[in-house]
Amino acid sequence: MRTDDLIDQLSARAEPIRSGAVARLLTAAVVAGIAGSALVMMSMIGPRHDLTAALSHPGMWTKLAYTFAIAAFGLWLVERAGRPGAEMTRPALALVLPLLAIALLAGLQMSAPGADMPRLVMGRSSRVCALLVTLTALPSLAAAFWALRKLAPTRLTLAGAGAGLFAGAAGAFVYCFHCTEEAAPFIAVWYTLGIAAVTGIGALLGRPLLRW
């Protein structure tokens, strides 16, 4: 086809684009992803039995806030990664905040008088935590990739890592409702490890799955 003919054809199809199209797409992906992750968590391991009581524990809110913040910054990263020419430095720098906060809190708890260090770090579920976070995250990972494939990522590995970061944190957020661990050191180590694993999976899948 001649390029001039192509321009004719394309300009004949200048349907209006509603503003906020990207935001709607990402909202749909977040809702679908978290619903999927919740379904996996409920059917695989179920919520903790004392969930109602746990909602008054500060430890519960600590891990919810930590994973929520990372998921939010991860989503911001996905949104920037999906737009050609957009900078990703600000969302990447913002990630330092929740990481710093949980590290600080973990340090405080471990340096408290009479702190049981191994117990604070290892809890009772350290062997399964990162793996269960990863499995819970998979539907969110699929949803984030689905959204990115409709956008225009130009740095595929980075975009995949952003999707993994969001999904890992969304999975961890959902996993909070199952897990009975509430010590900050445990969260800082094992939740973060699970999120990092999903980020790595996303980075690896970026190149093969996000090409357009």
């Binding site: 086809m1 390029t3 192509l6 321009i7 004719d8 394309l10 300009s11 004949a12 199809r13 200048a14 349907e15 209006p16 684009i17 503003s19 199209a21 990207v22 999906g82 737009r83 050609p84 020419g85 957009a86 956008l151 225009a152 130009t154 090409r211 357009w212």
Partner: protein, 187 residues
């Protein structure tokens, strides 16, 4: 800021509201930049295909343009991505030096054509033998040795001839520039 930014951004914003006329102007304008950008980086056969692929990508992904960001950077991001994709497909070098949107919009086919025309006009002032030497060596990149062989002159004679010819052309350009400036001052 890239010179075309304001104009292209206006056309893009109009196109996003469904203005086909503005969209056509935008695509036609971008095509000139894309052609020149890819022609300098790909084989001539592949270049036009990638131009078309990029236009289709711009169309299909136009919802990803964020009006808060420069439009030229958005287009450049797509153009560079399609270039890297083309290199990968042919297992050629997989990295593109980190250049900027200026690279896409700095060169313009029309501007290049004007520059070429100016050069030809200048060359026409030279006697034919010298014109051949200058155009071979300075424009086509023929080696001095080869040009000497072709013209039957010694290498040092070729060097001297080209040097003098370029110098005289340079003086011509300067003289014309001064004349023009003088004319402006008179008015």
């Amino acid at each position: 800021m890239i010179a075309q930014e304001a104009q292209y951004r206006d056309w893009m914003l109009a196109a996003l509201t469904g203005d086909a006329g503005a969209y056509r102007m935008l695509l036609a304008g971008l095509t000139r930049h894309l052609r020149s950008y890819y022609a300098r980086r790909l084989d001539s056969g592949a270049a036009e295909d990638v131009v078309q692929e990029t236009l289709i990508a711009i169309h299909a992904r136009r919802a990803t343009y964020d009006p808060a960001l420069p439009f030229t950077a958005w287009v450049y991001g797509i153009a560079r991505y399609k270039l890297i994709d083309e290199y990968r497909r042919h297992k050629r070098r997989a990295t593109v030096p980190l250049d900027e949107a200026k690279d896409l919009f700095g060169h313009d086919e029309a501007e290049e054509a004007i520059a070429r025309r100016d050069v030809n006009k200048l060359l026409a002032k030279l006697p034919p033998a010298k014109r051949q030497l200058v155009s071979d060596i300075k424009l086509d990149g023929v080696s001095i040795a080869e040009a000497a062989q072709r013209s039957g002159l010694s290498e040092s004679a070729v060097k001297v001839a080209v040097h003098r010819a370029v110098k005289s052309l340079g003086e011509d350009v300067n003289r014309e520039g001064q004349k023009r400036q003088g004319g402006d001052a008179d008015r």
